[in-house]
């Protein structure tokens, strides 16, 4: 996982609340056998609508999603996070996230920046007025800035630490590799193996 310190990119306004995981990626995409390539399933029901925000040419290449409250409710599917990342999103900003979605995001390295609804409204106004507005998310300082707006955001301290270090769960465990090797050397001789 790459370390996350400061991210700057353009942003898309998603003026909807209660976007659930079925809307982020429908169940039919869950049968796949890969861990990547879920961008085509992202918001799939809305993508056929030419007016949908991600279909607007001026929002091509966005990496920040500014969403309404209660983003990511519904199932625990990690695919919702993967689909957002595969599409190119690095940060989702909202005034309320579903817990499981937020937990899954932290594990996978997608930053969920929690701000007040007023900040969301101001960001929406800015990026709708000018889609080329650069939005900067500073994880060290826990601020989001765009135009003359500077606002602080909330993030779980442990998730923040992991993102700043660029460590996923496996990376964290592998920091204890010595302890694992020591444990392995003390396993009893009769412990079975699957080979031979």
């Amino acid at each position: 996982m790459e370390a996350f310190t400061v991210h700057t990119g353009t942003a898309a306004p998603l003026r909807r609340s209660n976007v659930d995981t079925d809307q982020i990626i429908p169940a039919e995409y869950l049968k796949r056998i890969t861990r990547h390539g879920f961008e085509d399933g992202l918001f799939s029901a809305w993508r056929s609508d030419p007016d949908f925000v991600l279909n607007q040419p001026e929002y091509a290449g966005v990496s920040v999603l500014v969403a309404g409250p209660d983003f990511g409710t519904g199932s625990s599917r990690e695919h919702a996070v993967w689909a957002l990342q595969d599409y190119g999103f690095t940060v989702v900003i909202s005034s309320r996230f579903a817990d499981i979605f937020r937990g899954n995001s932290g594990k996978a390295g997608l930053l969920t920046a929690l701000v007040d609804q007023e900040t969301v409204e101001r960001l929406w106004a800015l990026i709708e007025a000018d889609p080329t507005t650069a939005v900067t998310v500073d994880l060290e300082a826990q601020t989001v800035s765009a135009g003359d707006l500077v606002a602080s955001f909330d993030v779980d301290p442990y998730v923040r630490w992991r993102l700043l270090q660029g460590l996923d769960d496996i990376g964290i465990t592998l920091q204890k590799e010595d302890a694992i090797a020591t444990f392995e050397s003390s396993r009893p001789a009769y412990s079975p193996t699957t080979i031979g």
């Binding site: 996982m1 049968k31 056998i33 890969t34 861990r35 990547h36 990690e78 594990k107 996923d168 769960d169 496996i170 465990t173 592998l174 204890k176 302890a179 694992i180 444990f183 392995e184 396993r187 009893p188 001789a189 009769y190 412990s191 079975p192 193996t193 699957t194 080979i195």
Partner: protein
Amino acid sequence: MGKTLAEKVWEAHVVSRADGEPDLLYIDLHLVHEVTSPQAFDALRSAGRVVRRPDLTLATEDHNVPTIDIDKPIADPISRAQVEALRKNCAEFGVPLFPLGSEDQGIVHVVGPQLGLTQPGMTVVCGDSHTSTHGAFGALAFGIGTSEVEHVLATQTLPLKPFKTMAITINGPLPEGVTAKDLILAVIAQIGTGGGQGYVLEYRGEGVEGLSMEGRMTLCNMSIEAGARAGMVAPDDTTFDYLQGRPHAPQGADWDAAVAYWKTLRTDADARFDAEVVIEASELSPFVTWGTNPGQGVPLAGVVPSPDDAADEVERVAIERALEYMALTPGTPIREIPVDTVFVGSCTNGRIEDLRAAASILEGRKVADGVRMLVVPGSVKVRLQAISEGLDRVFIDAGAEWREAGCSMCLAMNPDKLTPGERSASTSNRNFEGRQGPGGRTHLVSPQVAAATAVTGHFASPADLA
């Protein structure tokens, strides 16, 4: 204070422990199948990681595989892709695999124990909730999600918060005609499908000690249906006798050292459980589920319950909904409900003793007209053993279909499915809506009840056939 069996196994596997952090637990055996592993391998690949201990990992194909024409390509493209991905991943990462057609292929929870790979005191995980099966040996065995599968592949460990412990004591021996399946269905009906949430269940008492290893596996298998993370039975002579001489069991001096350790794996007299449940075996009888979760069961001699029996509004709605889906009328005697299909198999009841039990009832009898019966061994080894005992002839002569090994109609990911509205008596573990095929209606039973039901065409016990 003393320790419970589960705590002893846990403590013996702590790699590192720090305040405010979950324990890092070492995993002795990681079982893998085609449904929950592809993304884990794919993520390893893209992160440039390797499988730390392929020699503690074992893969088998089970959920998707067909149970007829196994020499032909798998027809369903999604099933085929998952199976092919597993083969490719195992080859690339050096993980041993038992593919379709191999003598050791079968349901992951049947294969591990039959090879002697599941042993007392081990930690066993698999991306499958019925991993609890392996707890029958006094192992701490539980299901994990796909990102945890990836974690174990890469590190052979898992960060985990301790589970709570619950003792389930079965006083007295099981009465004649009552099986491990009836026992676990009765346990779930008593504590509820959420009653075991957050717990490791330890089954103990005379009713458990008297069970064979296969019966103990049936019992532990369905711990998850009570919401528990795992189920366990303390190892004893029955366990050691089952293991001795199996391909992966210790030998010689190793065997003696292992048994000496395994004998210490009993809950101490002064250990404390977080919860305790006591069941009198003498009150048990053959059990049948009538609803759409494994806790909705009644004795075979009982009747379909009424929403009016509910303790509260939530339960009333649940009963109403289940009755509607199952197309049942309150007050109907269970024995009068006719079935279309009988399924004997799955990791709950697809072992040799289960097939022997079903065959002993079908011997010299016929499956009732209009009833389809599928007998699906849990593994190729079970299949070959059954053939060597002539059980296949008994099934075929009775009019049942004798199939190749796999999960089959337990979850209908392969072509073995119920059609909408069809009713089954099934030895599997889940009666959820659509579990055996969209619109299918599942009643969970023991192999004995399944076989007797096949003969009469409606729910029956062997005693009813006299």
